[in-house]
Subunit: 148 residues, 2 copies
DNA sequence: TGCAAATAGATCGCGCACAAAGTAATTTGT
DNA sequence: ACAAATTACTTTGTGCGCGATCTATTTGCA
């Protein structure tokens, strides 16, 4: 009974689970991010830049699985909020390089509390969470592959 | 090392995994649903109504974790497409009852292929998928609880 | 060298997603 | 009985998310 004879039913349930769980995370983050005046996608961009400053839009998009039509306006808003700068790469004027401002870097310290709250709400041991994460990532990559 | 001392880092990674995996599902569904002229959220609504016809908006929203301000325009579009009807409940004129039309019911047959494709793309045995689903659902409900 | 193809972003249009505020019907409290 | 509170849904405004299309820059290759 462990044969992958017909996954269609289970996969149908799973896609709904992911859909609603992802929204649940967004809804949990929203009030926490409110005092920083960040939306959840904006926060994910900041996390990515805290991890690696100076990325261009394409690079950022490939890690977040978002394309430039989503990121361009979002990045403009982060720029307007004074958290990042957007400058063309002199070596290749097609690229827009994204750099944290002082204010953007400073936000990282204050955002530690947010992570803390999420960790508590998840209320699972690190090992279970990590297993869950890697299973989901593997599934995501397989779906991404199928979609070409 | 299995103590939940500090989940914040892992939980941070996990929320991103869910975020991107959910999008990956959407992107996989999109081309499959195109020939039915349905978006992914519209499809989820149809699945819910195939499961239980005659729900009202609130009931539908609680199963999909969406509120009426998202559903109202979506349901109007499904109505305009001739897939559902929207009628006030005579017993309580506040409620809008959602019923499948003949065309809406007929769509269910043709949608079997979609589930099939998703099941194949997931490419995991049913048991693993089911475990994954139930873990995510439990997490989602805990997050939902935390958000009050 | 010259010019087509490829690449990086930006813009536009449409459909979610959700907070806030509005409308109408029903229930509750006195 | 009837005003206040509650409930179900709609409307409005803002910000994603993405396909399609556009502009500007760089690369390839004949």
């Amino acid at each position: 009974m462990t044969q992958p004879a017909d996954n269609s039913g289970v996969a149908g349930m799973l896609c709904f689970s992911l859909y609603s769980a992802s929204h649940a995370f967004t809804q949990l983050y929203r009030p926490l991010l409110e005092k920083f005046e960040l939306t959840y996608p904006q926060y994910l961009v900041m996390v990515s830049l805290w991890n690696k400053d100076g990325q261009n839009v394409k690079e950022l998009g490939s890690t977040l699985f978002l394309d430039s039509s989503t990121l361009s306006p979002l990045l403009k808003r982060l720029n307007a909020a004074g958290l990042i700068t957007r400058t063309r790469n002199p070596q290749d004027e097609r690229e827009v390089l994204l750099h944290l401002t002082e204010k953007g870097r400073a936000l990282q310290e204050r955002a530690g509390d947010v992570m803390q709250c999420i960790g508590e709400a998840a209320a699972l041991d690190a090992e279970t969470l990590e297993t869950l994460r890697s299973t989901i990532d593997a599934l995501r990559d397989r779906l991404h592959q199928s979609a070409n």
